[in-house]
Amino acid sequence: MRRTTIYAWLMLLPAMVLLMAFTHYPAIRTIIASLHSTARGHRASVFVGLANYERLLSDDVFKQVLWNNLIYGALTVPVSIAIAISMALLVNYKLRGRGFVRMAYFTPTVLPLIAVANIWLFFYTPGFGLIDQIRGMFGLAQQNWIGQPDTVLYAMMVVTVWKEAGFFMIFYLAALQSISPSLYEAAAIEGASRWTVFRRITFPLLMPTTLFVSVNAAINSFRLIDHIFVMTGGGPNNASSLLLYYIYQVAFREWDTAYGATLTVVLLAILLLLAVGQFFFFDRKVHYK
């Protein structure tokens, strides 16, 4: 009995050590750091209680990046999912050149986000970028998509959706192929329309996949910021800045590590809420019985 317990702990040990060292310990250190001031030169770090959190409340940039991130998530997640499902349905049919279309849809996923950002930077360049060259053919004026506060965030969302939808398509494609054909045969006998088939059979049976994909997409909307570095640097006037990018700026450009830690705690809390919410509340409803 005792031997098996020790054995079990030994088996768990390597994973636990890694998890503690690289996830739990840094998280706890971050929380501790957020309660202290930033050490600068001769001024050591001192305990300041919740002062850093009070600063959050009066920090306009923080409010803006949080709002940006919410819009960014609220739009990129459903749009990526909708496009991923459409693409999966399309390439699930026996159409000519299916392999080629599948590959084309998947290509953006294979590219590193930095490369994607550079491609889109060229697309968006006012005057001689791809989009403006096409607009020019139709006599339209040039547009500075990533140089204006009111369009830049949406321009960045397009990049994200373009990059992510193909990846999510793979999961939907796998899920579609595991749906039993007898269900579709039954629906065909009943004379159900294609829309009814999708609404009543396909979509409900894809729900576990949708849950998995939406958790990932939501987390990615807080986690993937490489394109912001390359394309806008968060500008103009923070219009395209997201929470993680702001954390980077505060912690590694301004070297205000304590405030950076405070922002990180906020990010951790949001991600925790997302994960907990999605697994505990939605998980019960997704499995079709």
Partner: protein, 428 residues
């Protein structure tokens, strides 16, 4: 199991490497450098370092490419905080107060004799020393320094019926000439802009190219106070906004720094403002005859300086510091400074470097290289304060909000000043 043996192997390799590389008395130096312009900057630094080691025995210098200016400073500060600082690094001259504030660097004064001090440090262009000295001490040695200049497309000038050899010399001319250069097609869409002043990347820097001729200073010399709400600053910001929205000679919205030379080569803009560090790039790639001029005057001529300085890090032995200073003295000496300037387009930071035969021959071939040097007479300090990144970001955000038409210039600059005051208060 295998993890441990790999770690041991690694340790053994380090020991063996150290034994093999260093004779008993050699001084080892690590030196981080950033590269911000295209061309052969990295190769030139490595070649110069190798040349130094070949001629000076007893010192090993490891020149480490550290990315962009931002990356290099992040790397150096992270390394220094982790107790593993490089002995020497080229970082933005504007990082000076931040590095002092974090107690990471030492001034050069203690490692140079009085006469050397006068001859060496006194020999740099005074404009470059503005961002290099504080509290009566010299914390940075000018190395890859630059200043913004105006490049113009002579072919576009001729086509517009303008004198191709006369660049706009005043703001008034800048507007009228740029208007003549702005071309529209049948649909009323602009096909060639008159002027391009990048406003993304280093917005405050090119903005200073407007503010300084207008008689405005963005920050005090001690880095503890900003003057963002000075009416002359507001006026300059308004002018930059007007160039796009009132006079219609510049594209609206924020204008990318990196794509600026390309837009110039493609004929999308007839005049561009960018760093003199881009000169070699323009010489190589412009498919038309071009000119280089000083930035146009308002009340006076004027421009900021820019670029990187050598810094001496605190966390190193006395022997290392002495060796590091000797190396910096050598690499900024006329012959080396000339080589460096020719390879990159950076302004050789000392008058005596311009007297070397190499640089004199180069100026005969590329007379445009002299413009930046001559502009130094009018140059002022680049925006640099304590908590520099944060204060600069406050200013950049405010300028972006003005240029995009979100807020009027006076309101934006006043609120930026209030924010900067809050950050800098503890330092006064």
């Amino acid at each position: 199991m295998s993890f441990f043996s790999v770690a041991n192997l690694g340790r053994a390799a380090v020991v063996v490497g150290a034994l093999a590389a260093s004779p008993a008395s050699a001084v080892n130096l690590e030196f981080y450098f950033p590269v911000a312009v295209g061309g052969s900057a990295a190769d030139t630094i490595k070649a110069l370092t190798a040349e130094y080691m070949a001629t000076h025995k007893g010192v090993n210098i490891k020149a480490i490419y550290a990315g962009s200016y931002g990356d290099a400073s992040a790397k150096a500060i992270t390394a220094a905080r982790g107790g593993n600082a490089p002995q020497l690094s080229v970082l933005l001259s504007t990082d000076m107060y931040t590095l002092i504030d974090n107690d990471l660097i030492v001034p050069f004064d203690d490692y140079v004799s009085k006469p050397e001090m006068k001859k060496w440090i006194g020999g740099f262009y005074p404009a470059f020393m503005l961002n290099s000295q504080a509290d009566g001490k010299t914390w940075g040695i000018p190395f890859q320094r630059s200043t913004p200049v105006m490049y113009w497309n002579k072919k576009a000038f001729s086509e517009a019926g303008l004198d191709p050899n006369h660049a706009p010399a005043t703001w008034k001319e800048l507007v009228s000439i740029s208007k003549a250069l702005t071309k529209k097609n049948a649909n009323g869409n602009v096909t060639q802009w008159g002027l391009r002043i990048p406003s993304a990347g280093f917005p405050y820097w090119l903005f200073q190219g407007l503010a300084i001729p207008n008689g405005a200073t963005l920050a005090s010399a001690d880095g503890k106070k900003t003057f963002f709400d000075d009416p002359k600053v507001i006026e300059a910001a308004q002018f930059q906004y007007d160039l796009a929205h009132k006079y219609g000679v510049m594209a609206p919205g924020s204008i990318d720094w990196g794509a600026t030379p390309k837009a110039f080569f493609e004929g999308k803009t007839a005049i561009m403002w960018t760093s003199t560090g881009n000169l070699t790039n323009v010489v190589k790639n412009a498919p038309f005859d071009f000119g280089v001029a000083m930035l146009p005057a308002r009340k006076t001529r004027g421009a900021p300086t820019g670029g990187g300085n050598f810094y001496l890090f605190k966390d190193s032995t006395e022997a290392q510091k002495k060796a590091a200073v000797k190396f910096v003295q050598w690499i900024t000496a006329p012959e080396q400074a000339a080589k460096w300037s020719i390879a990159t387009g950076y302004v050789a930071p000392r008058p005596d470097a311009w007297k070397t035969p190499a640089l004199q021959a180069y100026v005969k071939k590329v007379p445009a290289a002299l413009v930046a040097r001559d502009q130094l007479k009018y140059a002022k300090a680049e925006l640099s304060t304590y908590q520099n990144s944060r204060v600069t970001k406050i200013f950049n955000d405010a300028l972006a909000s003005v240029l995009s038409g979100q807020v009027d210039a006076a309101t934006a600059m006043k609120s930026a000043q209030a924010k900067a005051d809050a950050v800098l208060k503890p330092y006064r």
